[in-house]
């Protein structure tokens, strides 16, 4: 397995290389640059803009710019944000914990609801309840997250006042205090609920189908024959078997963890990677934009690898090689 992992990791290098070409070209093809856009005539002089473009190498041929970027990137220098004027690395490290926190909370919510609904549907397929759950899941899948976000803010923040509508923490709280963590939790709940409840469809339906399939198998018939109670059969024998394919979903979730919340973070002004990404597109902040995209590509590849490895671990019949 070690050999297999190593081979896969080596195989990522050409893939990432190709991705980097696409990312770079697309970024540079966007019209404008960090110094175009809205000009404040009383505060900007054309000579400065020219000077900066020259200094940052925007006037060089594109392949030279690419080589320069890749060389620095490989050496761990992700460049400077033109808007924030600090190294991209610092900027991302600053935002990453927020995003991971949001992702984990929303994932827990997804798991809890998906398991409950999936088990129910699997046990009573084609009933009224099953159809209702399927209906809910597909509606959740169909509603864009920005619509759901705004509606949730309107009801839960403005009408009921249960949740804050923006930010990741109450203003002025000191990190490390108890209030601070409670406030963090309080701020993350609404966006996490939106993300979590809207994303249950694939888990639920997958679990449901697997439960149905398993319930027709021989070991279930045997268990029934020897008089095991229905709930023990479902909660113990079937659930354990049906969870195996779900575990592999975890691998794919890694990339979604970081990048899946772009729109939700923006609506909730939740300062994570997603919000940073959108801002950097707006401001043509190339270094930030390209670093985040590369990070996400890498995580997707890594997630695939983990998913494949997990397959091998949970189901010994699958041999990696």
């Amino acid at each position: 397995m070690l050999q297999y992992s190593l081979r896969r990791i080596l195989g990522m290098i050409p893939l990432l290389f190709l991705t980097s070409i696409v990312v770079f070209t697309l970024a540079k093809f966007m019209p404008g640059d960090p110094f175009g856009g809205e000009i404040d005539p009383s505060n900007t002089n054309p000579e400065y803009i020219e000077e900066m473009r020259e200094k940052l190498g925007y006037n060089d041929p594109i392949h030279i710019q690419y080589i320069r970027w890749v060389t620095n990137f490989v050496q761990g220098d992700f460049g400077h944000s033109t808007a924030h004027k600090i190294p991209v690395f610092d900027l991302i490290v600053d935002r990453l914990p927020n995003t991971i926190f949001l992702a984990i909370v929303s994932l827990i919510i997804t798991y809890i609801f998906a398991f409950a609904m999936g088990m129910y549907s699997g046990r009573r397929p084609y009933t009224w309840g099953d159809n209702l759950i399927a209906g809910y899941n597909y509606v959740g899948l169909a509603i864009p997250s920005f619509v759901a976000g705004i509606i949730a803010i309107y009801f839960f923040s403005f009408q009921l006042g249960w949740f804050p509508f923006a930010g990741s923490v109450e203003v002025g709280l000191q990190p490390g205090t108890w209030d601070y963590y409670i406030s963090r939790m309080h701020h993350v709940l609404l966006p996490a609920l939106i993300l979590g409840l809207m994303g249950t469809a694939s888990y639920t339906q997958f679990l449901r189908n697997d439960v149905i399939e398993n319930s027709r198998k021989d070991f279930v018939r045997t268990a029934r024959a020897k008089g095991t109670s229905e709930s023990a059969i479902y909660n113990k024998h079937i659930l354990r078997n049906s969870m195996i394919p779900l575990i592999t979903f975890l691998g794919f979730d890694i990339a979604t963890l970081i990048g899946g919340a772009v729109i939700t973070e923006t609506i909730f002004t939740y300062p994570g990677i997603g919000l940073l990404f959108l801002e950097s597109v707006d401001r043509r902040d190339y270094a930030v934009l390209m670093t985040i995209t590369m990070l996400l590509s890498f995580l997707t590849l890594l997630g695939n690898l983990i998913a494949d490895l997990l397959y091998g671990i949970v189901d010994p019949r699958i041999r990696l090689g």
Binding site: I39, S42, N43, N45, Y48, S168, V169, I182, I267, L276
Partner: protein, 573 residues
Amino acid sequence: MKKKSFWLISLLLVFSMFLAACNSGNETSGNEKDGDKEEANTGEPVEGGKVTLAVTTAPEGVFEAAYYRSAVDAQILEFTGDEIYQVNDDLEYEPDLATWEISEDKLTYTFKFKEGVKWHNGEELTVEDWQFALETMADPDYDGERFNYVEGIKGAKAKKDGKADSIEGIKVIDDYTIAITFEEMKLNNLENLWSHPMPKKHFEGIAVADLGESEQVRTNPVGLGPFKVKSVKPGEYVELEKFADYYKGEPKLDSVVVKVIDASVANGALQNGEVDIMEVIPNQVEELEKMNHITVEETTGVGYSYIGLRFGHRDQEARTNKDDIDKFKNKDLRHALLYAIDRQAMIDAFLSGKGKVFNTVIPSTFWIAADESELTQYEYNPEKAKELLAGAGYKDVDGDGFVEDPDGEPFSISFGHYAGNATFEGRSQAIIQSWNDIGVKTELATGSLIEFNLYNDMKTEDDEALEAFFGSWSTGSDPDPSGLWANNAEWNFGRWVNEENDKLLNEALSEKAFDKDYRKEVYVEWQKLFNEEIPAIPLWENLDLYGINKRLQGVHINAVGFQTNTHEWYVTE
């Protein structure tokens, strides 16, 4: 049994978390509601208090005037900083931190600083702080964008080019007196001089090249203003607390929070009291005006919109504009295009009435603005537009309903507009329709609204598709329009070149124009020229709009903004 209790306990835990969350939420909103009621009863100022200012884009976090780039950072700097001079309601420059005298030859300005002004770190302000700012900005390593504010000082260019160690034209006389000598005599030398001192002690030991990225600028800035930065949460909020030793008097508020919110929830946040003040856009106004505890303040601002007409190209190498396109050379055609547009109707439809028709490109709030009686008003008159067209030889020869040019060749205009706000679609269609109605065939350039960055690129590169184009400017407080409309100005996007234009603009900056009345006279002449020539079609000046919760009082609003007197803001709860 064991398992059941486990599930029960975990369920309980989850629910208690929800409840805890709900509780704390209820408390805050409850307090605010109480506050509103009290305010309605008393309306009396209260000691201290916290105010939330909302912004819809995140600050970039560069809290030093010489380095910042974003408008939001500028708003925070308004709270934390003060300047040598300030701009009054008529956009005239007045002494603030210093007074000045002008020498006989009008080249040397001697500034006398107020004594006893304190920085946030307790140091006293001296002229060295200002000298430090000017020297930093002329340093070859300075990577901010505002060298043009010190460029005019004698010897600043030499320092920038590395030929001198310090600026020749700066002479420190004592701690409170400094003399600045300019390279050449210009009327707006003062307006173009950098007016923010920099805390020299605070920046001690930092190389100029590293200054913009230093902690001292980003997380721990020091200013002179009524509020100081307490904490910065990047992308989320900046917390400001009052600076008790502020030289104009202790601020009445305890703290101000500048909070980032998404534009889509702005009205809701104002409604439920979580935001006390913010700049709003016309689309928001109708809803806000229905809320009892919100006032919408409006003032004529320094922003305006126009339709640019292309006369030529820019030679980027030589930095000159050449008028080599004849499409809009005919003055009657340009007049007709203006008469064809019902500007008031457009303001009502697309700006909720929050705009003012104007006929030059000088917003009326400037002291140089010409009286309307001196200008042609170009009221909506499609019949007159058709007459003008016919008189100029633009006639429908082939009977397709659209005019041909005087040589009988087909004539059409490609009109460009950028994408963004939802009203832009209607606005661009209204203009196209107006021109089609008088028989001038008009099409939307590229067939759809153009992405904003691309649009700017196209304007800069004189793209052929933009024969006519929608444009807006916000001008700042210097009345001189030459940065936007002079013959060779970069941002004269229509590339309008006119001898009289430059003559008047230069005259208004001449030595003779030190006499204010004369200067105004010259600018009025310029406006008459613009009004007669119509090198671009003036549409309307924008009103600046602010939504303010009634619990916040004492906010003075003028064309420069809403932050001129933040130390006098108070709350009534």
